[in-house]
C-alpha cells in the first residue's frame, strides 16, 4: 500500500516536471502534487504559476487554441515561408503581429515603444525592402519602426541579442533567408532564452526556409491565399477587385496541431485578423493540400521531404 503511494507520487511528480517543461498547466495535477513535492526541482512563484505565460490573444478561437492562448509576448515565434515569392505574405503576417503588439502597448497606456526589424541584407535584397508607405497603410505605426540591415547572419543575431537585452522595443522581427548554419538549434535556443529574459516577443521570419528543429514556441508556415473582394457600401462585393490580404496559416510546431490550417484575413483598418472560409476555387486549384496525404518522395539527389505528420521526432538539420 505504502509502496503504491510512493509510486503514484513519483509518477505525479514526473508528470508535473513534464508539464513545466512543456509550459502547460495540467488542471489540478500540479496543485495536488505541489503540497507533497518530494523532488528537488525548482518551483516557480505562486503568482507566476497563476498567470502563466504572457500572451496576446489574437481574437480567433482556432488560432488562439493553436498558440495556446495567443501570441507569446516573451519568447520566440517562427514564421516561415517556403518560397521567396511568398516572402511578402510571411512579412505581412509578421508585420500584422508587430502592429498588434504596438496596439497592445498603446492600449496599456505605455509610451510607444518601437518595433525593430532586422533584415539580413541577403533577405532584403531578394524579397525587397520593407516599404514605409505600404507598411503605414497596412496598420503599422512607422513613426516607431527601426530598420537594420546587417550584412551577415552573425551580425543580425548579435543585433537581435542586443535588442532583446534592452527593454526598449515592443517587438523584434528578425528576418533570415534560408537555413544558415549560424542559426541552428543552439543559437535559436539562445535567442529564445534572451527573448524570455527580456520579455520581448521575437518573431523569426524565415524566408524560403525548410522546417528545422528550433527552440521557438511555435512555428507557423504562411502561404498567401486568394483575397476576398472589396465590399461595397450596400453590402455587395465589387466583382473582380482584390480586397484585404488573406493568409493560409499552418501550424507546423504546436502542441495542438491543426494540419489543415486556417485562412485569416488581416484588416488594416480594424487592425485585427478575421477568419475566412477558403474560396472553393482556391481549394480546387491548390494541388497540394497541407499535409493531409502522404506525398511522393522527393527526387533522389536531395534529402527526402517531411514525412507524414506524427512520425517525426525531430527534423533533420536543414542548415
Amino acid at each position: 500500500m505504502a509502496e503504491n503511494a510512493v509510486q503514484r507520487e513519483t509518477v505525479l511528480s514526473l508528470r508535473e516536471t513534464i508539464a513545466r517543461i512543456e509550459n502547460r498547466r495540467l488542471a489540478g495535477v500540479v496543485k495536488t502534487v505541489k503540497a507533497a513535492d518530494p523532488a528537488g526541482f525548482r518551483r516557480r512563484q505562486e503568482g507566476n504559476q497563476a498567470s502563466g505565460r504572457k500572451v496576446l490573444p489574437l481574437g480567433i478561437p482556432e488560432l488562439d487554441a493553436i498558440l495556446e492562448g495567443g501570441l507569446p509576448l516573451e519568447g520566440m515565434t517562427e514564421i516561415r515561408s517556403s518560397q521567396t515569392r511568398d516572402a511578402g505574405a510571411a512579412a505581412g503576417f509578421a508585420t500584422a503581429l508587430g502592429a498588434l503588439c504596438q496596439q497592445a502597448r498603446q492600449q496599456k497606456g505605455d509610451a510607444a515603444a518601437p518595433v525593430l526589424w532586422i533584415s539580413q541584407s541577403l533577405a532584403s535584397t531578394e524579397a525587397g525592402l520593407p516599404y514605409g508607405l505600404g507598411l503605414k497603410a497596412y496598420g503599422l505605426d512607422i513613426r516607431s519602426l527601426i530598420l537594420s540591415l546587417p550584412r551577415t547572419v552573425k551580425d543580425a543575431l548579435w543585433i537581435a541579442e542586443t535588442a532583446l537585452s534592452v527593454s526598449a522595443f515592443c517587438a523584434v522581427i528578425l528576418e533570415i533567408r534560408g537555413n544558415p548554419a549560424s542559426l541552428a538549434l543552439s543559437e535559436s535556443r539562445r535567442l529564445h532564452v534572451r527573448a524570455r529574459a527580456g520579455r520581448i516577443p521575437l518573431l523569426l521570419l524565415r524566408q524560403s526556409g525548410h522546417e528545422e528543429a528550433s527552440s521557438a514556441f511555435f512555428r507557423l508556415h504562411i502561404e498567401p491565399a486568394p483575397a476576398r473582394e472589396r465590399p461595397l457600401p450596400d453590402g455587395s462585393m465589387l466583382c473582380g477587385s482584390i480586397g484585404h490580404p488573406v493568409f493560409h496559416v499552418i501550424a507546423e510546431k504546436s502542441r495542438s496541431p491543426a494540419p489543415v490550417g486556417l485562412f485569416l484575413e488581416w484588416n488594416p483598418h480594424d487592425r485585427r485578423f478575421y477568419p475566412v472560409e477558403p474560396l472553393p476555387a482556391a481549394a480546387a486549384a491548390d494541388p497540394e493540400p497541407a499535409h493531409s496525404v502522404a506525398r511522393l518522395s522527393a527526387s533522389s539527389s536531395r534529402p527526402g521531404g517531411a514525412d507524414t505528420m506524427g512520425h517525426l521526432l525531430a527534423f533533420p538539420r536543414a542548415s
Binding site: G88, A111, G128, P130, S148, D155
Partner: protein, 475 residues
Amino acid sequence: MRLVALDGLAEKSGFQLGQGVAEARAMCPEVDVLPSDRAADRALLEGLADWCSRYTPLVALDGETGLYLDITGCAHLLGGEKSLLDDLLARLFHLGIEARAAISSSAGLSWAVARFGAQSVIAPEEAARVLSPLPMAALRLPADMIETLGRVGLKQVGDIIEAPRAPLARRFGSMLLLRLDQAMGLEDEPLSPRLPVASLSAERRLSEPVQGEDDILGLTQDLAARLKPELEKRGEGGRLFELLLFRVDGRVFRIAAGTSSPLIEPGRIAGLFRERLQAVHDDLDAGFGFEILRLSVPRSEKYEVMQEDFSGTPDRERPLAAFADRVMARLGAESLFLPVLSESHMPERAAVFQPLADVGMLKTLEAAVCAVPAALLAASVRPQRLFQSPEPVEAVAEVPEGPPRSFRWRRSLHRIARAEGPERIAPEWWVDGETAAERDYFRVEDERGRRFWLFREGHYGGPTQPRWFMHGVFA
C-alpha cells in the same frame, strides 16, 4: 634617377643631393640606393606627429621633414623646457630616428636653430645673438633669393639684422623682412595644428604597459570617470569620444566612438569602447603593450539632466540610445535606419530610409511623418515590400493597354487571376528628365493568391516599346 636624401654616412662620404645615381655608384660602388617613397615618408611623419601629441595637443606638420610643437603651457608637466626636449630627443633616438630640435619663442627661430644652430633652448632676448651667425638659408627663403643675397655679400643673417630696412625691402621684396621678423619674434606666425584640439581630455601614463582588452577598458572607464566632473560642471555630454593608445614602440592608435545622445556615464563610455575594440579587433595590435592612454572629447553637446519620476514607467529614450550606441559602435554609423516619407509621387522616392544618427531624430521624424499630407498617403494601395530597383518581367497582356494575363518573373510563370489598375504615375520631370516614360501600375493576384505590384513603363505606340517590371510584393 637622382639622390633626394642622404644619411649621415653618405654625407660624410661626399655625396650630394641631386647627384645622379650612376655617378654616385661610380664614386662608391657599394652604395645602397633605395627608391624614394613619399607616401611612406608622409605616413611616418604623421605617425610621429601622433606620437608627439604626448607632449602637446598642438602639433603641426612642417613640409616633409619637420614638425612644429606648440608647447605653450605644457613644459612644466615634464619639468621644464630643457628636460622636455631631452626626453623627446632621447625617446626618438631609441625609436631609431635621428632628430634635431630647438625650443624658442617663435616658430621661425626654432626652425632655424634646429637645422643650422647648436643651442637647444633659446630665451626670447637671445634671438638676435643666436640668429646672427646662421646662414641665410636659416630664414626659410626661396633658393634664388638666397643666391641673389649671396651675390651681394649678404651671407649671414647678421648681415641684414642691423642693415637699414627700406633698401632691403625695395631690392629683395617684403618676403625677406617678413621672414626675418618672424624669426626674431616681431611678427606673429600662426601654426595650424594637424588635428582639432579636444575640449576635454584625460590621460593616464603607465609605468607598466598594458596589453589586455579588459585592462584597456578598465583604464578607459577610469579616465571617463575623471572626465565626468568636468563635463557635469559644463553641463555637457560627449557626442564623440576618442581614445588614443600610445604603444611602447611609438605607434599611436586612435579609436573614435560616436554616441546618439550626449553621454557622461563612465560605464556606458567604456561599454562603447568595448564594442569598438571588438570591431577593430584585427587592426589593433597591442604588441608589447600600451604605455599611455588618453580619452578626449572632441565633440560635446548640452546634456539635459533628467530626474526619474515615481511613476515607475522607464524613460523610453535611454535604453534605446544605449542600444543604438552599441550597434553603431560595432557595425558603423549606417546600420540603423528610420523610415522617412516625403512628398513625391514616385514610389521609390516617397518613402526612404534614413540612417539613425540621433535618438532625438525619432521625435522630429514623428513631426515629419505627420506633415506629409494625408491625401498622398491614403490615395492608393502600396506594397509592403518594394524592390530597390524594379525587376524586369516578361508579361503577356490580352489588350495592349490592359493588365497582364500572365507573366514570368525569376524564371517562374504566374497566371493572373485578378488585377486592379492601372494607376498611372507620371515621372517627375524635374528629377527624371523630360524624356522619362510614365508608368502604369497594376496590382495583380495570381492563381495561388500571391499579390504583386507590376508596372508597364511607356505605352504602346510611344517612342519606345513598353516594358514590364515587378516593383513590389503585397502581403
